[in-house]
Structures are given as structure tokens and as C-alpha cells.
């Protein structure tokens, strides 16, 4: 098969597999202080920001890449990556959508998110990230009226330095683990959200991430602050172009909820998972952590993970404020040679804190799926409760499903309950569906959707529809 034919075949497999030709500005290959200064300089960052990055880099130099995870991967040469690339046409920021590079707009169209129409129709403000630089932000005016700040984090560093300085690194400090520290040193862009006191954000905030330039590690940084009594729902969705080479994605997401505030963070992740033989695909090593800082605050993570060659992430909640609530709803689907090691951490520090974990894992083909979670109730977290439910579904005997929960209870007045089951789709259910005219694939899709229902219904409407389709698409070819 000649190369062209191969490419066409590949494109057939992956619905969103395409990449646009835009000339990129790139930082020199490799990771050193000069590259960090280059990034900081090109973003016109203040001195304290550069200091933050360099501090993280100092720490990064002594850290070792962790190796306790279940999915092993070939060693990444961190000196062989580009740490910054931006579409050239972005050098001078366009003032409105019309000024955007038509090619960029085309890309989003293929993704199914034409900015102007869809955003308005769906009532979603979109802060689209193309590679590493935010391209356009819509609905800014409406949000500004309420005092809500929703902008690329690079802009926030310029315009709201006080807020950024106060909260950036307060949940994921520069001295954290390997990938988080790497991100702190070289992050390029991401979203910044601030909801002022008592404001209920009138719409779902949404960002579509794209990985574009070959060999570019994506280092997004998201910071969401919900001030006292406020509410925000944030959506993150991802698709990526087809690549033969493995791409590293190490984003950091920090959430801070003050007194009585609530943050709902939903993710649909559908990055390129590699081809049928496990070649290529994205490495998704993301650090997501939320801090329930104030009393009665709530953070809820919902994720649908269907893409990436390796997914390795644990969206966590630190329940510091009294009466705070942490929730984690997850669907992870692996097919072919995909691997996932995902779960959550619920750290109970305050009194009367509650957490709930619902995790659904589905593995098919030759894939491997691990739920790994921590529930830690400290001795001061009186009267706290946790409920955990992990269900796994296996399709075929070449895949694996594993559950590794860590449960620590140091408080006699707190209760922890954990349940896990592993099963397969029963012949009876399949037979029943097929008898009623569904083909085997549709039947599996239906049953799996039922299995995941508890999590899917946590998603906002716009996402739920997309996610349901995704569940079906992800399992194509796994039956029979």
C-alpha cells in the first residue's frame, strides 16, 4: 500500500483526522531556561510570571518521571519536543471573528463548531484554543456585564495579574509531581475564569482544545475561580488530528471554589487514540485538581474519556471547607490498544464533607483499563461520608479491567463505602435486543449507554448528546 492510500485509510478510521496547514512560529526544540524565557517573552509576561516558571523548572530538573502507572510507554525525550508553537497569523491578534484566518475557521467547521452560529444558537461562549494560543472569544460582552472574566490565561496575566498571582499554583503548586511541574514551567495558554461574588454564570462556558503542530507537546493551563456564592459550569471537549508520532499532552487544571460556590467541570475527551495496531495516538497526562476552599462549596467533575493512546489522570477534590462536597462521575472507554489509568482523589479535610465517586470503565479489543482512586478522610474531618462505585465491563478476553482503590479512614465518625463489580454484556441482553431488530453493534451501543447512564445524565445537554454518540463510535468493531 502506498503512503497516500494509507493516509486515506487512516482518515476513514478517524472522523476528526485532519490537520490544517498554517505556518507556525516555534520555539527551538528542547527544554531549557532559554526556551522558558522565550515563551515568557513572546507572551509579554511580567517578571513574576517568569519567576514562577523558572521556579517550577528548577524543581522539574530534580524530579524523575513516575513509573508506577499501569500503562507503560516508551521513554519520552523531553529535549526532543517543541514547547511552543503558535499559528503565525495570530501574531497580531485579530479584533473580531471576521479577521480570523479562514483556514482556522474551516478547521472548526469540520469539528462541528462553527464559532459564530453554533455558539450563539447554543448559548455557549467559546474560547477556542488552536494549538497553544486562544483564537477567539465570543460572548465576551454578555459575560462582562455580569462581571465574569472568561479569557485566555495569557490575557488574564496581563489584565488581572492580582487574581492570577493569588490563585495560580495555589491548588497545583510548582513543587507538585513531574508532569504538573513541567506544565508550570512551560504552559503556553489556556482558559481563565473568574465568577464574582453571588453571580450565577448565565451560560455554559466551553473550550475546544486542538492539538495541531506535529511534535508539539500541549501544555494548557486552566484556572477557574468561583467567588463566594457563585456558580459556573465549564465544558471541555477535545478532538485531535491524526498523527503517527506520539504526542504528549500534560495540562493542568486548577479549580478554586470559595464559600457557597459551585463549579461543575465536564470533559469529553476524544483525542486520536492510535490506529488499530496501537501505533501513534496521544498521551494524555493531565493534572486536574479542585479545591473546595470555602464552607458549603461544591466541585463536581464529569468526564467521558474515549480517546488517547494512554489516558493517565485523576481529577481530584480537596474538601477543605466545612460541609463541602466533591463529586466525580466518569466513563472511560478503551478499545484496540488504548490504555487508561484514571480515577480520582477525594481528600477530606473539613468537617461534614461529602464525596461521591461513580466510575464506569469499558474495555474492548486489546485495551487495558485501570480505575485507581484515593479516598482519604483525615482525623479532623468529622462526620464525613464517601460513597464509591466502580463498575467495569469487559468485551473479549484480550482486554483487562482493574480496580485499585486506596481507602484511608482516620476518623471514627466518618463513613466510607466502596463497591466494585466486573462483568460482561450478557448473552441474554444481546439476544433480546437483536430479536427486536437491532444489529449486534447497535445492541452493544444501547446496552453500554444504559450501563453509563448514571454518568451521562450528569453532563449538560449539549454534551450528553455528543457523548452518547461517542460511546457508540468508540466501541465500533469490538463486537463479533
Amino acid at each position: 500500500m502506498d503512503n497516500r492510500q494509507k493516509e486515506i485509510n487512516n482518515l476513514k478510521d478517524y472522523k476528526y483526522g485532519f490537520s490544517t496547514d498554517i505556518e507556525n512560529i516555534q520555539a527551538p526544540k528542547g527544554l531549557n531556561e532559554d526556551v522558558i524565557k522565550f515563551i515568557s517573552n513572546i507572551k509579554k509576561e511580567p517578571a513574576w510570571m517568569l519567576e514562577f516558571r523558572l521556579k517550577a523548572f528548577e524543581r522539574f530538573k530534580v524530579l524523575k518521571e513516575p513509573d508506577w502507572q499501569k500503562p507503560k510507554f516508551p521513554k519520552i525525550d523531553y529535549q526532543d519536543l517543541y514547547y511552543y508553537s503558535a499559528p503565525k497569523s495570530m501574531k497580531d491578534k485579530p479584533k473580531s471573528l471576521d479577521e480570523l484566518d479562514p483556514k482556522l475557521l474551516e478547521t472548526y467547521k469540520k469539528l462541528g463548531i462553527p464559532l459564530q452560529e453554533q455558539a450563539r444558537l447554543n448559548g455557549i461562549a467559546v474560547d477556542a484554543v488552536f494549538d497553544s494560543v486562544s483564537v477567539a472569544t465570543t460572548f465576551k460582552d454578555e459575560l462582562t456585564k455580569q462581571g465574569i472574566i472568561f479569557c485566555p490565561i495569557s490575557e488574564a496575566i496581563q489584565n488581572h495579574p492580582k487574581l492570577v498571582k493569588k490563585y495560580l499554583g495555589s491548588v497545583i503548586p510548582t513543587s507538585d509531581h513531574f508532569f504538573a511541574t513541567l506544565n508550570s514551567a512551560v504552559f503556553t495558554d489556556g482558559s481563565f475564569v473568574y465568577i464574582p461574588e453571588g453571580v450565577r454564570c448565565p451560560m455554559e462556558l466551553s473550550t475546544y482544545f486542538r492539538i495541531n503542530a506535529s511534535n508539539t507537546g500541549q501544555f494548557e493551563r486552566t484556572l477557574i475561580i468561583a467567588d463566594k456564592g457563585s456558580y459556573v459550569s465549564y465544558l471541555e471537549g477535545c478532538t485531535a488530528p491524526m498523527r503517527d508520532e506520539n504526542q504528549l499532552h500534560a495540562a493542568n487544571v486548577e479549580l478554586v471554589a470559595l464559600d457557597d460556590a459551585e463549579i461543575k467541570y465536564s470533559t469529553v475527551q476524544n483525542w486520536y487514540p492510535g490506529d488499530k495496531d496501537g501505533k501513534g495516538g496521544i498521551y494524555n497526562f493531565v493534572t486536574k485538581r479542585g479545591l473546595c476552599k470555602g464552607k458549603n462549596s461544591k466541585i463536581s467533575w464529569t468526564q467521558v474519556e474515549t480517546g488517547s493512546a494512554i489516558t493517565w489522570k485523576y481529577p481530584s477534590c480537596i474538601l477543605k471547607g466545612d460541609n463541602s462536597v466533591g463529586e466525580f462521575y466518569s466513563i472511560a472507554i478503551t478499545n484496540n490498544y488504548q490504555k487508561a489509568d484514571t480515577g480520582t482523589k477525594m481528600i477530606h479535610l473539613g468537617k461534614n464533607t461529602k464525596s461521591k465517586i461513580i466510575s464506569k470503565g469499558i474495555s474492548a479489543g486489546n485495551s487495558d483499563m485501570t480505575y485507581r482512586g484515593l479516598v482519604d478522610i483525615s482525623s479532623k474531618a468529622k462526620n464525613s461520608t464517601n460513597y464509591t462505585q466502580c463498575d467495569s465491563l469487559l468485551m473479549g478476553n484480550k482486554c483487562g479491567a482493574h480496580t485499585i482503590p486506596y481507602i484511608k479512614n482516620k476518623n471514627s465518625e466518618s463513613n466510607i463505602a466502596h463497591e466494585a463489580t466486573t462483568s460482561k454484556i450478557s448473552e441474554e441482553q444481546l439476544h433480546y435486543c437483536q430479536q427486536r431488530g437491532l444489529n449486534p453493534e447497535e445492541a452493544v451501543g444501547l446496552i453500554v449507554n444504559g450501563f453509563c447512564k448514571e454518568v451521562l445524565q450528569q453532563l449538560p445537554m449539549e454534551f450528553a448528546v455528543e457523548a452518547q454518540k461517542l460511546v457508540g463510535i468508540s466501541l465500533e468493531g469490538s463486537v463479533g
Binding site: N397, P405, N409, S412, I416, K424
Partner: protein, 415 residues
């Protein structure tokens, strides 16, 4: 520690008549241990119990040499009354007595295996330590079709003659086709601050039945590590019950390999802890072939600043279709200082299986206490009644009624 190990090792070797090759192997194990040292929290399996730290804090400097030349007097007062049984008596790590008085002599064979070193599949440094320092090792072979009439009680006693010592023990058991053995491990310590490192290996042939009860009831300041490896052939059954209560620190590891179809393994355990005791049970059940079954139930009652850890793993190989694996751990924390940690793990590579685990921990149920008190019981009585019922559930899982009653009496559980 290195010089001490080397010195004590040379001393123990002197007293043994070993071939050059065996000495080489022992040396190799010793070197392995010297490199690795005692397990610490950096190792995943020891995450919740840092043995290195525990030994340092509780014992300090250990010595590894045991003078096995002189015999110890067997104190018959420790023997269990009211239950006829066979005996093996260890005193300070030395085998003083092997007595199968109730059995047919030609059906049980006791083989001296001191000169063979067995490789254990688990790779922790304590097996190296055990290999390097065990000086007597026996294999007990129960012959084809023989079922022991009376249970076998292994008495582990230590007396005040020893202090800050490491004691290494090893026993191998082979249960031939259709045979059965009931075994009780009973600890009786009057010594303080010693580290006991005990390895058992069981080989169960077709249809063999092993009932393995480990009772650590009496308060003592020793540190114990016990590793049981159980290999099971077709249709065999192993039942393990652990009462974890007496020692200052104790870790019981059960590694069960279900190699034959229709083999089943049961692991039940009770933690009943007070003071600042720290106990752990780690079980690994490997379902390696189809139609195998395992069941685990662990219950803990933790008072004062005690700490219990349960790490249970069910592994299902891709060939092991139709596996049935179940695991449940429950804990009651009575004191705000007490702590329960669990890591119930599933690793599954086959799709047609039924595997589940559950874990719960919390305080005594206030409603239940209220219910009992409103019917005239005092708080203390209600509390005892609830704990009694909670633990009875596990003790009832013991299938041997004689031993069940013995253990009930020991814990003081009423029906």
C-alpha cells in the same frame, strides 16, 4: 546493620553442616537482603506499613544469630485444653517437638529439608532473609487419601531468653490426592521485641482440603511477618482464617494460586485491636484457570490508636473464564485515634467472570445503639452486643465446628 548481619550469618553457618553449594545460595540470599534491606513504604506492598521504620522504632538494633544448640524445656501449660490434637512446638524459633500421636504413622512423612532452599514466587526481601538464616526446615507430607483424625496445632512460643532477635521459620506442607489437614497456628509469647519471620508453603493436590487457622491472640510486643503460599490443584479447597490481635505489629500475607479447575480458596479474617497496635492482612488470590472460586471476608474492630490495613487482590488470568471472586472488608472505628486503610484490588483479564469487592468503614451505628438501649441495655452492653454480632459473622465462616468453638472461646464471642 550490615556488619551485624555478616557476623551473625557466619556464626549460624558454622553450626550447620551444609554443602558448599548451599552456603553459596545462602550467601546469595544474604547479599540480596543486604542490598534491599527491610521493606519500606516506598514499596507498593508496604505502603501502609513501613516495616523498616517499625523495626527501627520498636526494636532498634536486631541480631540475627540464634544459638540452636541447647534445647528448651517445653512448657505444657500453653497447650490447648479440651481438644485432642497433634503438636509441633517451636520455642524461640527452634523445633522442640513434632508429635503426631493420634495419627497412623505410615500416613504422614516428615522430611528434613534443611538443605534445600525453596524459591518463593514473591520477591520481597524478607524471603531472602528467611532463606539466609533458617537452619531447620521440615516438610510434612500427608499421604494419598489420608485425612488427619485430629487437628495439628503449631505452637509458636518465645520466652524471655531472647531479646531484640530476628527469628526465621519455615515449614512446607504437601497434601497428596484426597488428603486433608486441619492446622492451627497458635502464638504464645512471653518475650518482647523480637521480629518473627515465618514462611509456610502448602501444596494441595487434587481433592485435598486444607483448613488453616492462624491465631495471634495474646498481647505481646513482638513484630511478626507471616507469609503463606498455597498452590492448589484440581478440586482442592483451602480455607484460611486469621485472628489478628495480640502482637504489636503483624502482617499476614496469603498468596493463593488456583492452578486447577474447580479449586476454591476462602480467606476470612478478624482484626481486633487496641493500644497502638498496627496489623495488616494482604491477600493475593490468583485465578489461573477456569471455573475457580474465591471468597474473602475481613472484619475489623479498632479501638484506641490502633491501625488496621487490608490489602486484597483478586487476579484473573485471561484463561480463567467463569471465575467467581468476592471480597468484602468492613471496619468499625471505636476511637477517634484509630485508623483503617484498605486497598481492595481487582486485576482482570477475562471477560466471562463474576468479580466484585466492597469495603466499608465507619463508627458503630447510633440507631442500633439507641434501639438496644431503649430496650434496657446499658451503653456498654449494647456496644459489646453489636461488636459481638459484627465479628460473629466471620467466625461463623469457620467450617470446622470444634475449632470454631475453640476460637469463639478465645475471642469471647457468644452466640
Amino acid at each position: 546493620m550490615k556488619e551485624q548481619l555478616q557476623k551473625d550469618f557466619d556464626n549460624s553457618i558454622k553450626n550447620l553442616s551444609l554443602s558448599q553449594k548451599d552456603i553459596e545460595i545462602k550467601k546469595f540470599c544474604l547479599d540480596n537482603f543486604i542490598v534491599k534491606g527491610f521493606p519500606n513504604r516506598k514499596e507498593e506492598d508496604w505502603k501502609f506499613s513501613d516495616l523498616n521504620q517499625i523495626i527501627k522504632n520498636n526494636i532498634g538494633e536486631l541480631s540475627f544469630y540464634n544459638d540452636q544448640a541447647s534445647t528448651n524445656k517445653v512448657d505444657t501449660s500453653v497447650f490447648v485444653d479440651g481438644l485432642e490434637h497433634n503438636k509441633i512446638v517451636f520455642i524461640n524459633g527452634r523445633i522442640e517437638k513434632i508429635d503426631f500421636e493420634y495419627e497412623k504413622k505410615n500416613q504422614i512423612e516428615i522430611i528434613d529439608q534443611s538443605e534445600t532452599i525453596n524459591e518463593f514466587k514473591n520477591s520481597n526481601s524478607l524471603s531472602d532473609l528467611n532463606n539466609a538464616f533458617t537452619n531447620k526446615c521440615f516438610k510434612i507430607l500427608v499421604k494419598k487419601g489420608y485425612q488427619l483424625v485430629k487437628p495439628l496445632i503449631i505452637y509458636h512460643t518465645t520466652n524471655s531468653k531472647i531479646w531484640s532477635k530476628n527469628i526465621n521459620l519455615r515449614l512446607n506442607f504437601e497434601l497428596d490426592k484426597d488428603s486433608s489437614l486441619r492446622l492451627i497456628d497458635l502464638f504464645n509469647d512471653t518475650s518482647e521485641k523480637n521480629f518473627l519471620n515465618i514462611f509456610y508453603n502448602f501444596e494441595l493436590k487434587e481433592n485435598a482440603v486444607l483448613k488453616n487457622y492462624k491465631v495471634d491472640k495474646f498481647d505481646n510486643k513482638n513484630i511478626k511477618y507471616s507469609f503463606n503460599n498455597i498452590d492448589q490443584d484440581k478440586n482442592s479447597i483451602s480455607e484460611t482464617f486469621i485472628l489478628s490481635s495480640g502482637s504489636n505489629f503483624s502482617k499476614n500475607e496469603i498468596n493463593c494460586n488456583l492452578n486447577g479447575v474447580y479449586a476454591s480458596a476462602f480467606v476470612n479474617g478478624v482484626f481486633s485491636l487496641n493500644n497502638d497496635k498496627h496489623h495488616e492482612i494482604r491477600s493475593i488470590i490468583n485465578h489461573l484457570t477456569e471455573n475457580t472460586k474465591s471468597y474473602q471476608l475481613i472484619k475489623s474492630v479498632l479501638d484506641e490508636s490502633s491501625k488496621a490495613v487490608y490489602q486484597g487482590k483478586i487476579f484473573v488470568n485471561s484463561d480463567a473464564q467463569k471465575t467467581d471472586g468476592y471480597q468484602l472488608s468492613k471496619a468499625i472505628l471505636l476511637n477517634k485515634e484509630s485508623e483503617f486503610n484498605a486497598k481492595p484490588e481487582l486485576e482482570i483479564y477475562a471477560d466471562d467472570v463474576k468479580c466484585s469487592h466492597g469495603s466499608a468503614s465507619g463508627s458503630l451505628n447510633d440507631n442500633s445503639i439507641f434501639y438496644l438501649m431503649s430496650r434496657g441495655l446499658s451503653y456498654q452492653q449494647s456496644r459489646e452486643l453489636l461488636i459481638n454480632g459484627f465479628l460473629l459473622d466471620v467466625v461463623e465462616k469457620i467450617t470446622d465446628s470444634e475449632i470454631k468453638n475453640l476460637i469463639k472461646n478465645m475471642i469471647g464471642i457468644k452466640e
